[in-house]
Symmetry: C3
Amino acid sequence: MKLSEIAKLIGVEFSGADIEIVSMNTLNDANSSELSFISNAKYVKDIATSKAAAIIVDEKTKEFVPDSCIALVVENPYWEMAILSKEFAPAIEDDNLAPALIGEGSRVSAKAEVARGAVIGKNCTILAHAYIGANTKIGDGVTIYPNVTIYRDCVIGDECMIHANTVIGSDGFGFATNALGEHKKIYQNGNVVLEDDVEIGSNTSIDRAVFGATRIKKGVRIDNLVQIGHNCEIGEYSVFVAQSGSAGSTTLGRNVVVGGQSAFAGHLNIAAFSTFAARSGITNDIKVSGKTFGGFPLLEQRTWLKLQVKIARLLK
Amino acid sequence: MKLSEIAKLIGVEFSGADIEIVSMNTLNDANSSELSFISNAKYVKDIATSKAAAIIVDEKTKEFVPDSCIALVVENPYWEMAILSKEFAPAIEDDNLAPALIGEGSRVSAKAEVARGAVIGKNCTILAHAYIGANTKIGDGVTIYPNVTIYRDCVIGDECMIHANTVIGSDGFGFATNALGEHKKIYQNGNVVLEDDVEIGSNTSIDRAVFGATRIKKGVRIDNLVQIGHNCEIGEYSVFVAQSGSAGSTTLGRNVVVGGQSAFAGHLNIAAFSTFAARSGITNDIKVSGKTFGGFPLLEQRTWLKLQVKIARLLK
Amino acid sequence: MKLSEIAKLIGVEFSGADIEIVSMNTLNDANSSELSFISNAKYVKDIATSKAAAIIVDEKTKEFVPDSCIALVVENPYWEMAILSKEFAPAIEDDNLAPALIGEGSRVSAKAEVARGAVIGKNCTILAHAYIGANTKIGDGVTIYPNVTIYRDCVIGDECMIHANTVIGSDGFGFATNALGEHKKIYQNGNVVLEDDVEIGSNTSIDRAVFGATRIKKGVRIDNLVQIGHNCEIGEYSVFVAQSGSAGSTTLGRNVVVGGQSAFAGHLNIAAFSTFAARSGITNDIKVSGKTFGGFPLLEQRTWLKLQVKIARLLK
């Protein structure tokens, strides 16, 4: 989309080089044909080094935009970004894409749906009522049980197994809210990547990234009814027990074990080899590897157990 | 069904005007061709003003039934109501209904199922393996992702988006239990109404009402793996984060924000603009708007935070 | 599979009676044509009485294997058991099985999938996009809503009702982990049995047993988004409210009531007629019937309520 059209959509006066913008991205990841935005003062420092062609800013932040970059000045950058996210969202399915390719030895039920543009590897089993979205790539030896939905543009590694009724790539929970309390959807134009040898249980949801990828690394095991928010990165061989979850943009190191009904807040970094007892509530970074935690607020598990003894004494 | 047949089904002697009963309803909402019941002393006061043609009562409550209304006296009114609920349940699908109507510009996958009697608006996208039940009405510009199930008789407003594998209109969790501990299903003959511009995540369940409607008002945003019980009413622009839920018959005002893994008990009233931190457990009405809560038992969030500091001191 | 082939797969020298092994099982349940294993010192006492043809052991436990039984000595018995579990896993579907049998009066949607070898009873309703796995037996008068997945080899009793998008028989969450932190899947070769008159809500997951059966007894009521782990046994007329769950191998007596978002740890025994308030966390056996509990750590509910009052006083 031309920058002039973008400016018009968000009601900004625009005169300058009317370049073609191919997508939106974060300040850090945008390239010279992408549009970015700033909606949180915390990221002001990233403006100077951003390679974005243009940045949506408000009056207060426009002064930080270098000359090499075009500033589009609006009242509520997050809201305008939401409006534009829809313009960059691809169609859910696209009749112009090539017919799906199915690798040798793969067995795809006639009652499954493989959208145009999808590519299925060799020796896969795809059962009835599974849905494989447009441009999604599936590796070799993958098993997809009935009623699994994989949205468009996702990547599933070799030897993955996805149990029934799980959803890979549904939209992250993103929206802007205006002063009237109304919400505007932020289209989630990223994807989900499952690396090799990942097994996902039934009725689990893994949301696609708003930009970039939600990434589940090699050998991860995720149980049933688990929620993985957009833009999370789950380290190699990590384990999520049933009904646990993570809010968006949290990064786990390798071999993290997450007990049943536990949950992470968003935007955290969790050290490798951390273990969380059932129903842990994790709201801060974990910086030292190899420890075991529990409770909400979170404590080291042995401290939490000690605390429960002290609390029980209140009854006396 | 004739009142005499109803009386026979629940083993009651009956002589009187043998009127036709078209459905069952609560004491407050029943009209003069409906049957009601009383199974909780709390509602005795509603008998006098009920417009119901007949009321199922026990020996203790029959004296409250006015002369204008027929009392059907049984030992366990709730159990007998459960038995009768089945008689009033419509068939899941009905070959006598008109073929589904699909509005102009709508794209319905050949692998979706749209039951007879359903009406789909204009410019909708309904993907493979979605199921739209009998008599369900879908507005314009609605997107229904794969493997979504919408039961019969529901109403989906304009511009709604329902993510993969979500269920709208499954039966509320209702049953009567007898002295032997056996359960009898109460058929849920109400529906679910989604007003305009509602977005629902993946793997979420919204139960149909036992009578009347479970209502999700305009602009609501519901994340993945959320449970909304029967007969809830969710106010405009409210937000439910992943893995949260509400038991039945709870009413939220507008712009309530419900953190991840939080839950409401049933039959509550929650003031508009309330915010609940992640994992809140709400068991009482919230009467004053605009406050932020957390914890279980629930406290104002700042009080909960203060309390955690005090609790941590027990370790010293 | 011949014992010699098994030995080869796990790198064990083997000379002896090369008998045919038909499956794997626990020490207690294995018969004389089955293979067993010991991976937890707690079960050493079961070796002496096991009827297994052969047992996978490590150096420390081999001495407990009686002469009547063949010891296959490896470094990590659990890991080798995981490797072998794959060899005994039947194909998900099998073209050599007989076509599915559908009983008189049953209505099966043309858009449902009933795998070969399945048997459906009389007067059932099976809606679009449901999946009934190979060799699964479904009783009479059963209702299966859209997008339900039932894996192979399961048994569904008469008059059961399974709501939309629920999964019966997905793999239990089982894997071995080696010293490098890598995981090896343990194929779950048991099944799920639902006895008569069981109703299951929407988006619920009931995992199949690793050996034997996960059993849901007569008259049980399970709500939406509930997790039942492998090898659980849920007593007659028990009730699970939404978003609750149980880890594997926990046994409940009859008429246990489990509040919303509650959860059981694994390998517990819970006395009949126990009641658990919402969000209970149960980590120990309950030995006395008829009590009500709450909290995490779990207390009798009246004690938990008293404790909350004491805790609140810390604020003063």
